[in-house]
């Protein structure tokens, strides 16, 4: 149904050509206005909307920027500041070398450091070297290590010594003194076995070709 000819409720002069229905607090209000007043009102509403839009744009821009940073960080495998702090605290579970100490000295403590810090150091290596993939000599397929039983035995004993040492510290910490005494005796026994062998003979007096390295430990086992 069309509206009968009405005057604009704002200017009361022009015919009302725009009819706006608003529902405020459950009550329906109808506003009849002319096009001039509508334009004026719309403009002011646009201004208000515009300021909201700018705010929204600003928020959106910030969101896009932070998401872009995130994507770039992912792209270059970089860590966000908080993660970086965590990275700085990384330490090798095998030798205890920290990533911070590596950054300071450029030195790694064991082969596992390369695995554990790999994600962080490989991009660095790629930049400072000719890429990040080795090309050059490779080890032979067969290695005849551990052939000498005396050497193998001493290496085994030294490893055992280190484990016993850790066990001794732990038992003392727990105040398990009987166990500590037992471990101490075992350590002393292994140390005695190892010290009976001159492991690294000094060949200052004779040539290696004349004297091959022999140790009392080796003679014992033969």
């Amino acid at each position: 149904m069309g509206h009968a000819m009405m005057l604009c409720q704002i200017c009361k002069a022009n015919p009302a050509t725009i009819h706006i229905q608003e529902i405020v607090n459950g009550e329906r209000n109808t506003l009849h206005i002319c096009s001039d007043c509508a334009r004026k009102r719309n403009l002011s509403e646009d201004d208000e909307a515009s300021s909201h839009f700018h705010e929204m744009l600003e928020r959106l821009t910030q969101a896009i920027a932070s998401s872009a940073d995130l994507k770039l960080a992912e792209l270059f495998d970089q860590k966000k500041p908080q993660e970086e702090e965590q990275v700085q605290d990384l330490d090798c579970t095998v030798c205890g070398t920290t990533f911070q100490s590596y950054k300071k000295t450029g030195k790694l403590g064991c082969a596992s450091c390369y695995e554990q810090f790999g994600q962080l150091i490989i991009p660095e290596l790629a930049l400072s070297h000719h890429g990040s993939v080795h090309c050059g000599k490779t080890p032979p397929e067969t290695v005849e290590q551990w052939q000498d039983p005396a050497v193998s035995e001493r290496i085994r004993l030294r490893r055992e010594l280190e484990l016993l040492g850790k066990g001794l510290d732990e038992s003392i910490r727990r105040e398990e003194f009987e166990l500590a005494a037992e471990l101490r005796d075992k350590i002393a026994s292994i140390e005695a076995k190892l010290s009976s062998a001159e492991l690294i003979p000094d060949e200052s007096a004779s040539e290696m070709s004349e004297k091959r390295p022999r140790s009392r430990g080796r003679r014992k086992s033969s």
Binding site: K107, H129, S132
Partner: protein, 366 residues
């Protein structure tokens, strides 16, 4: 006696690693760690002892001993500080490895061409020296030795990162190639700094051999690779050889130009250097090295009749602190060294060397 007889013996043999032209020496070192053992910097003394024992067992294997028939080994702790200094001057030990550390063993060929340090920065540091530009021959020797050792020692190796070394800058091949080069003419022409700086672009570094107040005493430089991952050993060595040879040619070309354009000044410099060394009674290392540098320039150009390039190489070694102490067989203070160094020069240059002969001064290789 403050020097180990074995080390004295090598020092007495003279400068086998110093050649004749601008490229004086080639040094190769290869770093390796034994698989399953922590690197020396973090390893316990038990681990170091095991690593040294395994390393020595491999070195004593018949296959390896055939390659190094005249080697001897000394516990690093038994070497005095003067011994270690002497080894550094003989290019058999790196200066960074002279400090005390547990379970280090020094192994060396009697001819002074090969040394092995166990439990330095890495479990094994294989080092070879050669006179002149000799990458290919030296690498062949090094590679053969490393292959023989690798048959009896399992080295720490990663399929992507290559040989794992304590210094990440050596990961990959573990190879450091260094050339010792003498560049006096390029220094005089003012072009040396720019040329050496450009080596950075090729992944190389140029360091003074004798740094004194940031300058290279004796115009001697060490040119080394800074990269070891992503390039085959042979490719790196040949690329470096090409670059160093190009610099050497430029040095020779500049020398020829210097002599042809400023012969009088050149002869004057040679004569004054000779006069200084022949008549000095007290001379510090850096001054001696600078004078020796001009003497070498003169010897290369045929200015001196009696002073040969071999004389120069011997004097270059003899004037260094540990060599002076070794010769005197006693520790010398810097002042005593200056005096003794001067007397060595006077003794060596007492011969009937006439004034530099202007007719003999020819541009080298021209």
């Amino acid at each position: 006696m403050i020097f180990h007889p074995r080390i004295r013996h090598i020092a007495a043999k003279g400068p086998s690693f110093i050649g004749q032209g601008p490229i004086l020496s080639t040094f190769l070192s290869l770093s390796r760690n034994i698989d399953g053992f922590q690197f020396p910097l973090t390893a316990s003394s038990n681990t170091l002892e095991s690593a040294a024992e395994l390393g020595l067992a491999a070195l004593h294997h018949d296959e390896v001993r055939r390659l190094l028939p005249s080697m001897f080994q000394i516990k690093h702790e038994l070497l005095t500080m003067p011994d270690r200094e002497l080894l550094v001057e003989l290019e058999l030990l790196d200066r960074s490895q002279t400090g005390a550390a547990p379970c280090r063993v020094f192994v060396c060929a009697e001819d002074g061409s090969t040394s092995v340090l166990m439990n330095g920065d890495d479990h094994l540091w294989l080092h070879m020296t050669a006179a002149g530009s000799a990458f290919r021959e030296t690498w062949d020797r090094m590679s053969t030795l490393e292959t023989a050792l690798a048959r009896h020692l399992r080295f720490a190796f990663h399929p992507r990162l290559g040989y794992l070394t304590s210094s990440a800058s050596l990961a990959g091949t573990g190879l450091r190639i260094t050339f010792l080069i003498h560049l006096p003419a390029l220094g005089l022409s003012g072009r040396r700094k720019r040329i050496l700086e450009r080596l950075e672009d090729a992944g190389l570094s140029a360091e003074p051999y004798f740094p004194v107040d940031g300058k290279a005493a004796g115009n001697l430089f060490l040119i080394s690779n800074k990269t070891s991952l992503g390039e085959r050993e042979e490719d790196l060595g040949l690329r470096m050889t090409e670059l160093v040879t190009a610099i050497s040619r430029e040095e020779e070309r500049t020398r020829a130009e210097l002599i042809s354009r400023q012969k009088l000044l050149f002869l004057n410099a040679c004569g004054r250097a000779y006069g200084l060394l022949r008549n000095t009674y007290l001379i510090p290392t850096s001054e001696a090295l600078d004078a020796l540098s001009i003497m070498k320039l003169g010897a290369d150009s045929g200015v001196f009749r009696h002073f040969t390039r071999q004389d120069w190489a011997e004097l270059l070694l003899e004037c260094q602190p540990a060599h002076l102490s070794c010769r005197k067989n006693m520790n010398l203070t810097p002042g005593e060294r200056g005096e003794y160094r001067a007397s060595c020069f006077r003794e060596r240059l007492h011969g009937p060397e006439p004034a530099p002969d202007s007719d003999q001064a020819d541009p080298p290789d021209s």
